[in-house]
Symmetry: C2
Subunit: 216 residues, 2 copies
């Protein structure tokens, strides 16, 4: 890397993220970002026409990273119910982890995203599509009920919103949040998993198809 | 009712609610409330020791009213799955209705409730218990799976949070919100309803036990 190498979009986004973490969404300016990179604000403006565009790009990049990582799980092999459980646990763990480890930046992202409903809607659609993909695999393998697929991936995403939607972040410090997630999962899996006995789930009447003791 | 009749707690709460609607939670004072009732603020303080206590009491009264009305549905006769659907539809309709018809007061309540986590926790416990009651009836009648009862009423409440939890109020203006609720309900009912065929639900593979066209 030489000094003459042009500034990349990724470098600007990284610097903007750092500035947002430090100064918050209201006080972060394009000049701050440019200064931290040792360039003029004009250079930043060449990539992002407005401060709002820069802020939105930071959040969109963050959402895309979550979606990309989860997409890899959605494509894994193996039983669909187990895969869906891993996928949901990863989503919950990512969102709750960000909120816990970097609460200011998390709140900032949430605030910016509230002004960029298109980004959020796209993100949620992408996630719902990944769930639908898993359900479709499961139906093909005879593990998932076709009627659960008919309800759709978005229904699974919505039914677990309390555990991954940033609007609920204040509730995530509750010591009961993991248990509450397990209970919702147990309920969902009863409907998702194709019964191979009189009852849905492989564990007979008492349980879900996946051990509920699994923590993430 | 004579002029000498003492001021009731209910009259003060009604006046406080009106003041909160008009001035918002930050600007509403005990003096405002007392003035609107034509009494001294000392009279109000005899019932509510602080402004915070008065605000909290208004919200608790509102939550109690919702819980009371839903409790009546939980006690109704008839099939448990249908009753649960009516119960959830009533909850969703009350919360979304308040948010739509009186958005300022709704936001005010939400803000006050955020500072009174005990009131919210109690409210949610009461609601979860009502669902559990319906599930228990359904298990006794052979309509609901025992494993759904094991997941508990709180799981049903949590799985539908997007449609009644005030944290999601901004999403309720979406034209797709009713359809999204129906999809979650379809998924839940697959797990709740005891199968009397190979698939859960009375409508075969395609559907839930309750017509999803029902709007609330």
């Amino acid at each position: 890397m030489t000094a003459a190498q042009p500034l990349t979009r990724e470098q600007i986004l990284e610097a903007a993220k750092e500035a947002l973490r430090r100064y918050g969404p209201a006080k972060t300016t394009v000049v701050d970002v440019a200064q931290s990179l040792g360039v003029s604000h004009g250079t930043v403006y060449r990539h992002f026409p407005t401060k709002a565009a820069l802020r939105a790009a930071v959040v969109r990049q963050g959402l895309a990273a979550v979606s990309r990582d989860l997409g890899a799980i959605a494509e894994e092999d193996g039983p669909a119910v187990d895969r869906l459980r891993r996928w949901l646990a990863a989503l919950v763990s990512r969102k709750q982890g960000y909120a816990r480890e970097d609460p200011e930046l998390f709140a900032t992202y949430h605030l910016i995203a509230a002004d960029d409903s298109g980004a959020v809607a796209e993100h949620l659609s992408a996630l719902a599509e990944q769930i639908t993909h898993i359900l479709r695999d499961g139906v093909a393998a005879g593990e998932i009920r076709p009627s659960a697929l008919a309800a759709g991936g978005r229904a699974v995403l919505d039914a677990t919103a309390r555990f991954h939607n940033p609007s609920h972040a204040a509730e995530w410090i509750s010591p009961e949040i993991d248990e509450a997630f397990d209970a919702v999962w147990d309920l969902l899996v009863l409907g998702l998993a194709r019964p191979d006995g009189q009852e849905a789930g492989r564990g007979g009447d008492g349980g879900a198809a996946v051990p509920t003791g699994t923590r993430y």
